[in-house]
């Protein structure tokens, strides 16, 4: 248990430019703390996130991947996150089916107004991943540092 506490999970967060990335900025403006090893990649819309990116992140050794977008119905591009939701539903289900990383991937909707919630979501996820420990199943051993 102890070493799990010390273990700092590597987490990649894909955030859509209009809601979630702004939400992250909001978290910053409000000085809401979340772990340093959560790193954000900006995409225009959650529908830009290719399952390939997520698998790649795991392959390169990410312990968790989270995708954030506008709440359904509020997509800046009106329908993007609906497609993203379908895609990620399938991907998540498949990762779980393969027994590799279902529990290490999460989708959350965070609006531009939800800075505090962004931090909350990130803290929850980081905790969740920390409890799971290191990603060994879906990491490419060649890429071990």
């Amino acid at each position: 248990m102890l070493e799990k506490k010390n273990f700092e999970p590597k987490i990649v967060a894909f955030c859509c430019n209009w809601c979630s990335y702004a939400g992250a900025d909001g978290a910053g403006t409000a000085r809401k703390h979340y772990p340093a090893n959560i790193k954000i990649i900006k995409v225009p819309c959650s529908c830009r996130v290719n399952p390939l990116f997520i698998l790649r992140a795991f392959q390169r050794g990410a312990d968790g991947v989270i995708m954030c977008g506008c709440h359904p119905g509020d997509c800046h591009y009106s329908t993007g996150n609906y497609y993203a939701r379908r895609r990620m539903t399938l991907l998540l289900s498949m990762l779980d089916y393969l027994g590799v990383a279902g529990e290490r991937f999460r989708v959350e909707w965070v609006s531009a107004a939800e800075g505090a919630r962004f931090a909350q979501v990130m803290n929850d996820f980081a905790e969740h991943i920390a409890a799971l420990g290191e990603n060994v199943k879906l990491r490419d051993l060649r890429c071990k540092k």
Partner: protein, 352 residues
């Protein structure tokens, strides 16, 4: 000649394991036999008619790191990867596969020598197993291979309740000596030899009644390369081909590879080689495109290489050993036999 009771085979495996890394046909989850490192719990299938893939992986792995690039800051350092040192023993090699290694040698050991292949090859002792139940897809005889006597360092036969053992090469003798000293192998009586030759005759008998018994690649084909090259028949033959790499990857003599880089970490990049196939669209792809733009061209390339180019450059030796894997594995039942027959019909007998 020596022998060991079938029931004692595990003893033999362990003994061999102590001498070097032992690879032998083991069943995988889907019941296919493939060469795999010996493990006590492995489901060993010495008698499996034919492994999924030949043992060529032992000398020519599907993926092999050649070089490592190491960067620190703006500095770059190179490191050559050397294959691991140590004896490898491959057991249960069939006559067809045994011949295929000789063919690969002609490719990799000719100058410029492929040191990766050479190192692995030289460290290896091959223990062949005579065939007793050839399948209808077998046609090794078409290339003068004796299914009952594989060209290996040691020949073995599963006859009756025993495995008969006959050293052939110096390497084989050396290995045998160790096993005899260790009391694993015991001197076999004359009847063993009799049993073996009986089995060999029986094998020949079966081969003589199997569908492909009279199949032979017509030597005429090598006489007029261009004629064959321009044959109309290729179009028809290639029609069904999917351009997948199955035939290539299961073929014991195919040896094309590609070299690529893979960045493992910020500081480390591997230059590796991996099997490639002349059937693949992107084979030898260059800036201007592919030298063989159509499926027909790529299809023709593979069979021209096996049936024409290779024999032309290697004293008439075909780059095929009649293992029949392509007959078993091709998704659309295309195979070298079909091609060779069609070519003969079209270009030698000219009755198309």
């Amino acid at each position: 000649m020596y022998k060991i009771a079938k029931d004692n085979l595990p003893k033999l495996y362990v003994a061999l394991q102590n001498i070097g890394t032992l690879l032998l046909p083991c069943k995988n989850k889907s019941g296919h036999a493939d060469f795999a490192p010996y493990r006590e719990d492995a489901e060993i299938a010495l008698d499996a008619p034919l492994t999924n893939r030949s043992a060529k992986d032992v000398f020519f792995p599907q993926v092999e790191n050649l070089l490592t690039f190491k960067t620190s800051g703006k500095e770059l350092a190179l490191e050559q990867n050397v294959p691991p040192v140590g004896v490898t023993i491959v057991m249960g090699v069939r006559a067809c596969d045994a011949r295929s290694f000789k063919i690969l040698d002609k490719v990799f050991l000719k100058a410029p020598v492929d040191t990766y292949y050479k190192t692995r090859r030289e460290q290896c002792v091959l223990i062949g197993l005579g065939c007793s139940a050839p399948e209808e897809t077998c046609f090794c005889h078409a290339f003068g291979i004796d299914a009952g006597a594989p060209e290996t360092d040691v020949q073995t036969w599963l006859a009756g309740e025993e495995l008969c053992w006959q050293a052939v090469t110096a390497n084989g003798e050396e290995l045998t000596a160790k096993l005899v000293d260790g009391g694993v192998l015991v001197e076999a009586a004359a009847d063993a030899a009799a049993a073996v030759s009986e089995q060999q005759e029986h094998t020949q008998k079966i081969l003589s009644v199997l569908p492909l018994h009279d199949f032979k690649v017509n030597d005429e084909l090598t006489k007029d390369e261009l004629k064959v090259f321009h044959s109309k028949i290729w179009e028809q033959l290639a029609a069904g081909c999917l351009s997948c790499c199955t035939c290539t990857y299961v073929c014991p003599t195919c040896h094309c590879y590609d070299i690529r880089d893979y960045q493992e970490t910020e500081e480390r990049t591997q230059r590796y080689r991996c099997w490639d196939s002349c059937m693949a669209k992107d084979f030898t792809l260059m800036a201007h495109g592919s030298p063989r733009k159509t499926k027909v061209e790529r299809f023709r390339q593979r069979y021209m290489h096996k049936l024409v180019y290779f024999p032309e450059n290697n004293e008439g030796e075909y780059a095929c050993v009649g293992c029949g894997r392509c007959l078993q594995k091709c998704p659309v039942q295309l195979n070298i036999v079909k091609v060779a027959k069609a070519l003969e019909k079209a270009e030698v007998k000219q009755d198309v």
